[in-house]
Subunit: 413 residues, 2 copies
Amino acid sequence: MMKHLRIDGQRLWRSLMELAEIGATPKGGVKRLALTELDKQGRDLVVGWGRAAGLAVTVDRIGNVFMRRAGRDPARAPVIAGSHIDTQPTGGKFDGNYGVLAALEVVRTLNDAGIQTHAPIEIAIWTNEEGSRFVPVMMGSGVFCGAFTLEHAYAARDIDGKSVREELARIGYVGAEVPGEHPVDAYFEAHIEQGPVLEDSGKVIGVVPAVLGLSWYDCEVTGMEAHAGPTPMPLRKDALQAANRIMGQVVEIANRHPPYGRGTVGFVQVFPNSRNVIPGKVNFSIDLRNVSNDQLNRMHEELMTYIDTVRRESGLAIHIERVSHYPPCPFHSDCIDAVRRATDTLGYSHMDVVSGAGHDAIYVARVAPAGMIFVPCKDGVSHNEIEDAKPEHIEAGCNVLLHAMLGRAGAAT
Amino acid sequence: MMKHLRIDGQRLWRSLMELAEIGATPKGGVKRLALTELDKQGRDLVVGWGRAAGLAVTVDRIGNVFMRRAGRDPARAPVIAGSHIDTQPTGGKFDGNYGVLAALEVVRTLNDAGIQTHAPIEIAIWTNEEGSRFVPVMMGSGVFCGAFTLEHAYAARDIDGKSVREELARIGYVGAEVPGEHPVDAYFEAHIEQGPVLEDSGKVIGVVPAVLGLSWYDCEVTGMEAHAGPTPMPLRKDALQAANRIMGQVVEIANRHPPYGRGTVGFVQVFPNSRNVIPGKVNFSIDLRNVSNDQLNRMHEELMTYIDTVRRESGLAIHIERVSHYPPCPFHSDCIDAVRRATDTLGYSHMDVVSGAGHDAIYVARVAPAGMIFVPCKDGVSHNEIEDAKPEHIEAGCNVLLHAMLGRAGAAT
C-alpha cells in the first residue's frame, strides 16, 4: 500500500510559487538575503505552514528551525529533510526553497494519508546557506555540526557593518536550543541540480554520491593611486592590472584540472573606482573546486605559486587569505542506497551526479548519515533570476524524498 | 616697479588650507564631489572671499562663476585666471583649488598695491572639472566653449540617478548668463603638474606647450550568470574573464605607443558581484591618451580590433562606446610666451612640460588664447589624498601667474 503513496505535486508547486513572492524580482527571480526583513517574512510563512500541519517548532541559537511530526517511538531520533530559504542577490525560486517545501509536502502527504511513522519526521530550515551577505557560507548547518563556533558566526558582518547576532535578534529567530544538540537519525536534502548534467542526459533523478570540495579566498592587491594622465606607464603601481593577472590565472588553474576543476572570480571591488584614477587597491574573491582532495590541494599550490610570481614581478603588496575550505564530501551509503531504492520503486530514470555546489547536507553529513536527491533545472542555470524547473521533475524528486524518508523512518500504520 | 611686485605666499597657503577643510578626509585629502552640499560650501567660501576683495560676481547657466576686478578700460575683455574646486572621491588639496585661489591671490595683491590694470582681471571657477560624479568631464568649460550643449550637460545623471540640472539648482548655482557669452581676452591656469617630471628635473616652473589628447570609453561585457560550482568550465559565459582580457590589453596598447601613450582602467562594476556566482555582466571604463592625433587614433583602432577578437573568441556581447574625446591641445603662443617671460623676469628655473591631464584651459583655448603654469607636486602624485606641494613652489607659480596676467592686462598705475 505504501508503495503507491504519492505527494501532491500541484500543492507543492503552489507553495513554491507563494514563497517566491517574498522578495520576487522583476525578472521572475527572488532576492531574499539571509536575516533580512524578507528572510523573516519567508521564515514566518513556512513556519506558519508547519504549525498548520500540526508540527512542533523549535529554533536553535543560530536560527536553524526544526519542525517535528511525532513518531510512534518517541525515543528514536528523527529522520530530517530540509534545506534553506535564503537566496542569492539575484537568485531563483527553487534553490534551497525546494528542499524545505518538499519536506513540508512529505509531511502533508503523510497527514492526508493518516500514516504514522516509527521515527519522528522533521523539517529543517538552515540559516544563511548562501553566504552572499555573511561569510561563512552554510552558516547554520556549519554551527550545527561544529565546523565553527556560534560566536564566530555571530561576529560575521555584512558590507554595511551589521552583525549576524544583531540581525538574527532583529528578525526574532534566536532560539534557546544549543546548535548540534538536536538529534538526527538521517538527513535528506532534495535540490535542483544547479548544473546541466541531468538535463543533457535526459534523466529525472540524480543520486548524489559526493559533493565537490571547495576553497574560497579573499585577495587584496595594493598599488598606488595616481592621476591616469600624467603618470608614465613604467612608473605606475596599478593594482587592477596585477589583480587581472591573478583573476585570469584562476580560470587557467581550473582548466588544468578537468573534468571537475572549477575556478571563479565572482566578486571584485576597485578603489577608488574613478575612471581617471589608477586603481590603488583591488579586492576580489577566488573560488576553487574539485572532486578529490589531491586535486584541490594542487590547485591551491598553483594559485599560491602564481601569486608569488605576480608579487615579485609587480612589486605590489598582495594579500591572500583562504576564508573557507570544505574537503570533497562523499555521502553515506545508507542514504545513497535509500534514494536509489526509492527511485527504483517509483520507476524514475536516474543517474549518479556529483554535486558542484555546496549544500547544508555536507555539514550534516559530519554528524549523521546524509544524502541528496537532484532534479534537473532548465539549462543547468541556478543562482540566477531565470532559474527554472519543470513541475513534473519537482514532483518526482519529492516522491523520491517521501519514499526515502519512509524507508528510513518506517511506516507504523 | 611692477617687476618687484610679489604675491603673499603665506596668505595663499592659508586660503588653500581653509578651503581644504571642506570635505577634508582622514588621510589629509579632500572629497568634494561636483554639485554636492560640500561643493556648495566650497563655492560659497570662495565667492565670499571674492566679494570681500571687491569683486563683482556673475554666474552662468551651467554654474560657472566669474568674479571681476574692473579695469581702467571697461571696453576691454577681461584677462581671466582660474580652475575648478570640485575634487576626485579621494582627491587632494591642490588640484584645481590652486588655480582658483592663485587667481584670488593675484587680485588681493593688486588690491594691496593699489594697482589698476587696463583690462579687467577675472577669476573663473568652472563647474565639474573632475567628471567623477557626472560625465562629461570638464563640464562647465565644455559648455562655455560649445563642446557640448547646456541641455546635454543638464541631463547627465550620477550613479543615484540625480541630474546636473537638479543638483545645480539645489545648491543655488544656476545663473542667468548664457555660457560662452562671457568675453575672454586671455586665460591662464596655474596647476600642480600631477606628474613626476618637474620634481625629477629639479625645476620650479613648467611652461606648458600642450596637453595630451584623450579618449574615454564605457565598455560593457554581457555573459551569463550561473552558479560557480556545478557549471563546467567549457560551458561558462564568464563576463569578467572576457573583460579582463580587454583590461589587460588597454595597458599593452599604451605601452606600444611611448613615451606619451597612457592606458588606464579606473572603474569596474561586476554583476551580481557575489563570490559564488559567475559574473553575468561587467561594466568598466577605458582611458587612452597620447600627444598626437595620429597616435591616439592608432590606439583607438587597436582597441577596437582587439575587442572584435575577444567578441569573436568568447561569443559574448561586448558593447563599447567612446563617451569623451579631446584631441591633443597645443596652447596659444602668446600665452606660452607670457608665462615664459614672467618666469624669466622672476628668475625661476623652468622647463617645458606636456600635460598628461585634462584641464579647463583646453576648452577655453577653443575660444580665446590660453596657457598654463605648472608647479611640482610631491612624487608626482595627484588624484590622491596624499597629494602635496611645497609652499615655495605654490608661491612661485602664483608670482608667475601675477606677472603673466599683468603683462597681458597692462598696468595703468
